[in-house]
């Protein structure tokens, strides 16, 4: 049990270090598995230094920096055993435009590398512009959802203020 966790940790950490630097356009990060006699008591700590900033525990980073770092961790685990599908529900909500761009580039990279099909729920106009196709969900009849294929202009209208 403990060896498997240790091995998994090693692989995930390797992916994580690369993905972090990729997503932040620089900087460095790593994971630490705190020691404990009982492997079920070990804690997973995250340390990160965005470009130009000093290394800190995840809890001291900004809201957007924390979200991007957590995303790097999720994808690090994903890449140890890539699936044919990946579903992301509003993971780009706290990101600014520069980080959204790098996030979208990463999705393209992973998709090209693993053949994974992505379903990405988003409110970000910039993310929408970076995807291959868009489906809009509407409730023209109250409380009843309908799915409709949309282009970028129609998507922006869908989410626009009335």
């Amino acid at each position: 049990g403990r060896e498997r966790l240790q091995a998994a940790f090693g692989t995930v950490n390797d992916h994580f270090e690369q993905l972090f630097t990729h997503l932040f356009g620089g900087g460095a990060a790593h994971l630490e598995l705190s020691d404990s006699d009982d492997p079920l008591d070990a804690g997973l700590e995250i340390f990160a230094s965005p470009p130009g900033k000093r290394l800190q525990n995840l809890s001291l980073l900004s809201g957007g920096e924390q979200a991007l770092t957590a995303l790097a961790l999720i994808f690090a685990v994903f890449l140890t055993n890539p699936a044919p599908i990946c579903i992301l529900d509003e993971v780009d909500a706290p990101l600014d435009d520069a980080n959204v761009e790098r996030f979208c580039n990463l999705l393209h990279d992973i998709s090209g590398q693993t053949g994974t099909r992505f379903l990405v729920v988003t409110h970000h106009a910039l993310t929408m512009a970076n995807l291959h196709r868009l489906y809009g969900v509407t409730m023209s009849e109250r409380g009843i959802s309908q799915l409709v294929s949309v282009d970028l202009g129609e998507a922006e209208q869908l989410v626009a203020a009335e």
């Binding site: 498997r4 966790l5 091995a7 998994a8 940790f9 692989t11 995930v12 598995l33 705190s34 070990a42 804690g43 997973l44 995250i46 924390q66 979200a67 957590a70 995303l71 961790l73 999720i74 685990v77 994903f78 890539p82 699936a83 599908i85 990946c86 579903i87 992301l88 529900d89 993971v91 979208c104 999705l107 393209h108 998709s111 053949g115 099909r117 990405v120 729920v121 988003t122 993310t127 929408m128 970076n130 995807l131 291959h132 196709r133 868009l134 489906y135 809009g136 969900v137 509407t138 409730m139 009849e141 109250r142 409380g143 009843i144 959802s145 799915l147 949309v150 998507a155 869908l158 989410v159």
Partner: protein, 168 residues
């Protein structure tokens, strides 16, 4: 196996039959607050064998059945079907001669869920194992629900370690 299409009827706010094509690359799902985007993703999680209603914002599993609006009565059953392409023949042995694989889950009030694979009734466990073999499934890292990211950030280190067990 590759994901191709998702069909849902009577599932939460998607009362009328709805079909989502899952195509290669990156597909976006957009719309105003409360219009049903997360519901759509939950349908995929559900058909893959999700067993905890709380993971889909409900108290009981029947909470996924369309509960009615001012203009429409509630339904008594919800059904979600996932169509998969098995050209690479990676389906479970008993179904591997099929080009197409259909996995469906249907729930009726007071009667619970029934799973079918190409029309033949199977157990929840069979469906969960099928998706686990594809490195996906309701509890895999490939399904990132709304709020998962903040939960991961706020998690105590001990609880965060659970994400590694997905990779182990």
């Amino acid at each position: 196996m590759q994901f191709q299409r998702l069909r849902l009827t009577g599932f939460k706010s998607f009362v009328d039959p709805t079909e989502l094509y899952i195509e290669p690359g990156l597909t976006g799902i957009v719309g105003p607050n409360g219009c049903g985007k997360s519901n759509l993703l939950e349908a995929l999680r559900w058909v893959m064998g999700e067993t905890k209603p709380t993971n889909m914002r409900g108290d009981g599993m029947e909470d996924v059945i369309f509960a009615g609006t001012a203009l429409r009565p509630p339904r008594n059953l919800a059904e979600v079907t996932l169509m998969m392409d098995n050209a690479d023949r990676t389906a479970p042995v008993t179904f591997n001669e099929h080009e197409q694989i259909e996995i469906s889950r249907r729930i009726e009030r007071e009667a619970g869920s029934v799973y079918r694979l190409n029309g033949k009734e199977v157990r929840a466990r069979d469906v969960q194992l099928l998706f686990a073999d594809l490195a996906t499934g309701a509890h895999s890292p490939s399904l990132v629900s709304q709020g998962r990211i903040s939960a991961l950030i706020a998690a105590k280190p001990k609880d965060r370690r659970a994400i590694l067990e997905e990779a182990a």
